[in-house]
Every structure is written in C-alpha cells, then in structure tokens.
C-alpha cells in the first residue's frame, strides 16, 4: 500500500480539527435557541457527527481494514442495546418531553404555582363557601408539624405551607388509603409535574415549595368524609402524612 492512501494528510487533519472545534462551539451556543426538541436532537446529532468524524479520520478507520470497523461497531451496538435495555428495566423511557423535563425540573417547577393543573377536581356543590385558613410547617428531617387537619364542609381553604427545611416539599390531598400508591406514582411523575401524578385519587396537588419558602394554595373543600394528605416528594411519604377530615 502506498503511504498516501494509508492515512489522511496533515492538511486534512487540520481541517477536521477546525470542524470539530466549530461543532463544539455550536453545541455550547445552541441552548439560546428556545425550541426543546431542536436542542435535544441537535445535541445528539452533533455528538454522533463528532464521534464518527474522530473515529473515521483520527483513528483512521476509514483507511483501515474494515474488520476493525465491524469490531468497534459490534461493541457500540451492544452498548446501545445495553443502555436501551437498562432504561427499560428501570422504567426510564426515552420519552422526549420528560427526558428533557428531568433536567429542567429544578429550575422550572416554581413558576406555575398559580394555575395548578390538579386543583380540586372533586368539589362539593355548595351555595355559599366560608373561608378557612390552615398553616402547616415542614421541617427537617422530613416532618410536618401536624398530622391531623379538620376543616368545616363548604369552605374555601387557604393552605399556607411553610417550608422550614432544606428540602423541597409539597402538599397533596388524596382519598383515604391511597397514600402508598400515589407516593410510588409520584416518583415517575417527576419534578416538572411537581411529583403530582395524574390520578383520580388526587383531590388537590400543590406545587413544590422550595427550601425556606412559604407558599399559599387555595382550594375548595371536598365533600364530607375522611381524606389523607402527604408530601409526594420521593421518599418523604414515610414521614410526611396525616389525616384530613371534612365535617
């Protein structure tokens, strides 16, 4: 084999290096584009492009025995298969919105306190409602100061959650006996949904309250009966729960 065909020229190496640097620059600048899927897909495609470029030219697979290419691809495909299978086993789908949400959660969660999606979806029909205030303090380690709340029927509850701890907490009102189920579902709901899963058993799901922050939530009381409240932040349910009675 002649020397020229064996590998790329120095000039070509310089070109590749410049292109790689430009792509990296593009990757860092890209978040300024506000479209999420462009960002995720763009990053993946650019990374794959760089990957191929380096192994083809710098590792001269392009000029080498194709046996080596097959060998590396074999390992790569096994790796991708392993990743995919592991994600499935641990139930982390490559579902694009939540895939992004996982990383965005901590920043975005506090913005939509006013229009919460799960606000009181089971409400008693009342002619007139009386206002009723509750204050509940969350403290370290994973503790609500009260484990029993009693409210009058036909009231509009203003719940003030004082987060006096170093963790995030929320207040979720659910039907009695469903605590365990909701707490497990909350992990999958993720931080972008404030760890409030989509469930009929949820009567009110409040947004996450950041450490050392006080937030108020307003919701109408459910019909007379026994309910349960809890914090659905993963792991907190064990300690942060209590009974909620409407009479």
């Amino acid at each position: 084999m002649s020397d020229n065909k064996d590998h790329a020229s120095v000039k070509q190496y310089i070109q590749v290096a410049i292109i790689l640097a430009l792509i990296t620059w593009l990757e860092v600048v890209m978040p300024n584009w506000p479209v999420q899927w462009v960002f995720t897909f763009g990053l993946l495609i650019l990374a794959i492009f760089k990957f191929i470029y380096v192994i083809q030219i710098f590792m001269h697979l392009k000029y080498d025995n194709k046996f080596f290419t097959a060998l590396l691809l074999f390992g790569l495909f096994l790796a991708v298969g392993t990743i995919s299978a592991l994600m499935k086993i641990y139930d982390r789908d490559f579902t694009l919105p939540s895939f992004m949400a996982q990383s965005m959660g901590h920043e975005e969660s506090s913005k939509d306190h006013s229009d919460d999606p799960n606000e009181a979806n089971v409400v008693e029909d009342c002619d007139e409602r009386v206002p009723f205030d509750i204050e509940i303090i969350a403290s370290d380690p994973m503790n609500f100061d009260i484990d029993e709340i009693v409210v009058p029927s036909c009231s509009t509850i203003t719940l003030t959650l004082v987060n006096d701890s170093n963790m995030e907490h929320n207040f979720v009102l659910i039907t009695e006996g469903k605590g365990n189920e909701i707490a497990i579902a909350a992990v999958d709901a993720g931080p972008l949904n404030n760890y409030v899963p989509d469930s009929e058993d949820i009567l009110f799901g409040g947004a996450l309250v950041k450490p050392q922050v006080t937030e108020s939530f307003i919701f109408d009381s459910p019909p007379i009966g026994e309910y349960e409240f809890l914090c659905t932040f993963p792991g907190h349910y064990v300690f942060m729960k209590g009974s909620f009675t409407v009479e």
Binding site: A17, P31, V54, F74, M87, L96, S98, M167
Partner: protein, 250 residues
C-alpha cells in the same frame, strides 16, 4: 401532546446493528482466511520470500493485521460497553436526587467547554505525533508527543479543579444519586485520561532511548487509538451530562 417513544426504535436498531456486525465479521474473517491458504502455490511462496527480505513488512498473522492492533480494537469495543453502562446509570438516576446540590447548581459550563476544547486539541496533536513518526521525523515526534501530553495533563488539571469545586459546594460521592453517578462516570473517564497521559510520557522518554522508530510506528498508532477513544468518550459525556443540563433559552 402524544409523547414520542424512542425506546423500541433504538432497541430494534441496535439489535439489527448487532446482526449486521456479526455478518460483517463473518465475511471479514472468511475473506482473511481465503487470503491465507494452507497450501501455497510456488509463485506465492516466491512472493513471500521477497516479502521476508523486506524489513518493513509486518509480521504475518491470520487477520493480516498486527495482533496488538487487533487487541486494542477489541479492548476499545469492550470499553464502549463499560462507559455505556456508566452513562446509563447516570441517566437512570437523573433528576432523582432527593437533596442538592443539583447539576445546575455546580456545573461551570465555560470551564468545561475550555477543557473539552483542550482535549479535542490534544487529539489533533496526537495525529500529528503519529504522522511525524511515520515519516521518521523524531524531532517533530517528540514535540507533538509532548504537546499532547501537556494537553492531557491540562485536562486532568481542569478535572481536579472541577471536582474540588464540587466538593466545596457540598457535592460528594455519597451526597446524592447525582454525586454518585457523576463522580463514577467522570472519574472513570479521568482514570482513562491519566493512563493515556502516563503512556504519552512513557513514549516521550522512550524515544530518547531509541525505542521509538519509524519501523515501530505501530506502538504510537495504538497509543493514538486509545487517546482518540478517550476523546470520543468525552464528546459523548460532554453532550449527555453537561450540555443537556443547560436551561433552554438562557
């Protein structure tokens, strides 16, 4: 909005890829065996005699390629799976940490971008190292080899600084899931870089003892393969771990 599920597509794609690779490997091997028949004709024997008198020819192997190169490609292929599992561990536990600091609290994107550029630059120096030894230019080889070594060392320095900064912010291996998976992944990559740096330094010193020659350029080539692979892994880590953490529109 109906969520787009990529999982079945990716799984199917990789299973398909594995089969294609098996077929390719089979044909590659078949081809190689064909080129080394047990019984050689007289003409071929003569050709081989000529080859033997040529000092530059490689040692004959079944694959027709030096075994050491084959070994390193097998190693790199297995390393893909190793890093694949570590990256998965990070992704599975992403956003599952119960306490801070969270990724965005500690990441310094400018710093990491600079260190990424330096690692890319070192890859460029590495090809120049190989190119100069293949031309037999020992002086240039030493210069580029040492440049690559310095770049690798700088990258390691950045990583040490970064880790120290993170620990100062309260992120330790045992703090949360982010800490455990992040340190395990980037630490393993750092160990790879450290081994590469030692290898480069070894080659640099060895060249003064007359161990690196044009005929033994294969030694530099495999070091290059390893070094580029470490670079390629960082390309993936930088995109998946660091860049995907960035808030969009900021």
């Amino acid at each position: 909005m109906e969520a787009l599920k990529l999982q079945p597509v990716i799984t199917a794609f990789s299973v398909f890829g594995i089969f294609v690779c098996i077929v390719l490997t089979y044909y590659a091997l078949l081809n190689l065996f064909k080129s080394f028949p047990r019984v050689r004709s007289k003409k071929e024997k003569e050709a081989m005699m000529d080859k033997d008198s040529d000092p530059h020819h490689h040692v004959e192997t079944y694959t027709g390629e030096p075994n050491i190169k084959l070994f390193w490609w097998v190693f790199l292929a297995s390393d893909c799976m190793f890093f694949g599992s570590l990256i998965t561990a990070y992704l599975i536990y992403k956003g599952q940490s119960l306490v801070g600091p969270y990724p965005l609290d500690v990441f310094d994107m400018e710093l990491t971008t600079i260190s990424t550029f330096i690692l890319l630059l070192s890859s460029f120096f590495m090809v120049l190292t190989l190119s100069s030894i293949q031309k037999g230019d020992l002086g240039k080889f030493r210069f580029w080899c040492f440049s690559t070594f310095l770049c690798g060392l700088t990258f390691l320095g950045f990583q040490v600084y970064e880790f120290e900064h993170f620990i100062h912010e309260g992120l330790r291996l045992k703090t949360n899931l982010f800490g455990s998976t992040f340190y395990l992944l980037t630490g393993t990559h750092g160990v790879h870089v450290a081994i590469g740096v030692l290898w480069l330094l070894g080659m640099f010193i060895y060249s003064f003892w007359g161990g690196i020659t044009k005929e033994r350029a294969i030694e530099v080539e495999i070091a290059g393969l390893y070094w580029h692979f470490v670079d390629v892994v960082w390309i993936v880590i930088f995109s998946v771990i660091y860049l995907m953490e960035l808030p969009i529109g900021g």
